[in-house]
């Protein structure tokens, strides 16, 4: 078989696989414009009215707001905790460094449902001990989402720190800059792309989390993903598709932006 034929086979197979991966995306966006009152194929016409209806659904609207708030705080937590930790991992040798690295990355490794269940049990235990409410509250949710975002921030920020020569920091220090000045005036500007990518990516992984949140949402405080899943248990219509399309647009934009700062494929 000639080289050309082989190349064509690879290209064709790749196109097929890519189509399979993208099919759900395309299908749900398409369906969100269907005019059919009950979801069916083919479309009888096209309309934007499902988007209005989706926004009118309190569960989706509140879920969206909760998800955005939660994700923003998760980004803050993961940056505040993750950037200094990455600095320690990359710039210093110290006993237990490997162990600390393992700990910091472990939230990625433990299955979401298992981590969520464990956190839920710990919260209930604390509630009994301290007589405060945690499990269904925003702080509880924020702790879980900080945990989801942290390892990704550590991954992306360490990657950009590894790519930066420590000589810049050493030069600043030897010229008399203090530790903090060096960090804010030298290190931070250089690794900014990595930090921006980490922030955007952390936002996304928090926003789409389902498994950990499912244990921790309470009445009146539900994330968008949980609202979607509980809606899907009983109905499947274009309202869900409209919500999904909005989510796809937001996340797509964030990822494309994030990819401009640091190649995302490296994070996996």
């Amino acid at each position: 078989m000639g080289i050309l034929a082989i190349n064509r086979i690879y290209a064709a197979l790749s196109a097929l696989v890519l189509a399979f991966v993208l099919l759900p995306l395309v299908a749900i966006v398409w369906v969100s414009f269907f005019a059919n009152r009950i979801l069916s194929f083919p479309a009888t016409g096209y309309t934007f009215s499902w988007y209005v209806r989706a926004w009118e659904q309190e569960a989706f609207r509140n879920g969206f707001i909760t998800s955005v708030e939660t994700a923003l705080v998760a980004v803050a937590i993961s940056l505040v905790l993750g950037v200094p930790a990455s600095l320690a991992l990359v710039r210093y040798r110290f006993p237990g460094r490997d162990a600390i690295q393992t700990v910091l990355l472990s939230p990625m490794v433990v299955p979401g449902i298992v981590g969520g269940a464990a956190l839920f049990m710990a919260f209930i235990e604390l509630e009994v001990l301290l007589d405060v409410e945690i499990a269904g509250t925003l702080p509880g949710l924020l702790i879980a989402h900080g945990l989801i975002a942290l390892p990704w921030t550590v991954r992306l920020v360490t990657a950009s720190l590894v790519g930066m020569s420590p000589s810049y920091e050493e030069a600043a220090r030897s010229l008399g800059a203090g530790v903090l000045t060096t960090f804010f005036r030298v290190t931070l500007p250089i690794i900014k792309p990595g930090i921006v990518a980490a922030a955007l990516f952390s936002f996304v992984v928090s926003f789409i989390d389902l498994e950990k949140s499912i244990f921790l949402v309470g009445p009146g405080r539900t994330t968008l993903q949980i609202a979607l899943v509980s809606y899907l248990e009983w109905n499947l219509d274009s309202t869900v598709a409209a919500v999904a399309t909005v989510q796809i647009l937001i996340i797509g934009a964030l990822l494309i932006a994030s990819d401009r700062y640091a190649r995302l494929a490296r994070a996996f």
């Binding site: 790749s14 399979f20 930790a85 393992t102 299955p111 981590g115 789409i208 993903q225 999904a244």
Partner: protein, 313 residues
């Protein structure tokens, strides 16, 4: 007390999920001042210890408690929950389903992912490779809820697939709430992981080696089998592990497209902990899931590496 459990959680069931960070080797610029490093790393580390390790240890302790209906949990030190799992044929079946669904999905990901990864590295231009990789990653990060909803639209009894089938004059196929649908859904989530992992290893294989093999008369398939495959084995292993682990832990796909009678392990954990409020048994299920995954991935790792050593000799 929870030594084994903690290591199940922290040493890699995902050597694959969390590959090491590629930190600079020690020695290059040794700094011996300890305090700043500890100060920098402590808050994050402490946070994970308190919000993940601690709760996991607590959950392991709970898995040794006794469940008394109406009272929830009675303190005890018993293996009864684990015994119940291995004595109950229902849960054996749940585990068996989880295993075969994960195995099959992983295999399909490998078969479908390799050509794409190979194409991206060897044939696509740099600009297109970046774009296509992003296109592969995007659907991955749409979220399980949205992706699952999309598959429900496609696979439903009156869904897109059946609409297409009926325009061909064929009778509709029952896909929704079947294991087939779950495997389709899982493969579509896991393929991006496989493709990204494989392309990064194929990237490191010198194209000249393939050119040499084919100039010496090897067919393309022989070259793949004798040259590319052995060199790509570490990446194939990593990608396979990653897909297998992620599908062992899958929650949304089995729940929503598998339907109520299709049970896998992660949904069973949720069911026991949040719905049946049987924490000891739910906790035991969680640790069985992690232990089985860990044992299987470690065994596969050891076997493949032994094989790899023989190959590369």
């Amino acid at each position: 007390m929870s030594g084994s459990a903690m290591s199940a959680a922290t040493t890699n069931p995902g050597g694959a999920t969390a590959p090491p960070l590629n930190l600079p080797a020690p020695g290059a610029r040794e700094r011996r001042r300890l305090s700043p490093a500890f100060g920098l790393a402590a808050p994050g580390t402490l946070f994970v210890v308190l919000a993940l390790m601690g709760p996991l240890a607590l959950m392991f302790r709970y898995s040794l408690n006794r469940f008394v209906p109406g009272q929830m949990m009675v303190e005890a030190l018993t293996l009864a929950n684990y015994q119940k799992f291995f004595a109950d044929s229902y849960y054996q079946e749940v585990l068996a389903t989880t295993l075969w669904v994960s195995g099959l999905s992983t295999l399909l990901c490998l078969l479908a992912g390799f050509p794409v990864a190979y194409f991206l590295v060897r044939q696509a231009s740099d600009k297109w490779k970046g774009r296509l990789l992003l296109l592969v990653i995007l659907p991955l990060l749409m979220g399980n809820a949205v992706r699952t909803a999309a598959w429900m639209v496609i696979l439903g009894d009156k869904g897109l697939f059946n609409a297409f089938v009926s325009t061909l004059g064929l009778s509709p196929v029952k896909l929704m709430y079947t294991p087939t649908a779950v495997v389709i859904g899982l493969v579509s989530v896991l393929l991006p992981f496989m493709i990204v992992t494989l392309q990064s290893i194929i990237e490191g294989i010198d194209a000249n080696l393939e050119a040499a093999a084919s100039s010496l008369g090897a067919s393309h398939l022989t070259t793949l089998w004798r040259v590319v495959l052995p060199l790509a084995l570490p990446g194939i292993l990593a990608g396979t592990m990653l897909c297998f682990i992620l599908s062992m832990n899958a929650y949304a796909t089995p729940v929503l497209i598998g339907g109520p009678s299709f049970q896998m392990m992660a949904p069973a954990v949720y069911q026991q902990v949040a719905k049946a409020m049987n924490w000891p048994f739910g906790a035991a299920l969680a640790f069985v899931l992690m232990a089985v995954t860990l044992v299987l991935t470690t065994t596969a790792n050891v076997l493949v590496q032994r094989r790899y050593r023989r190959w590369s000799e």
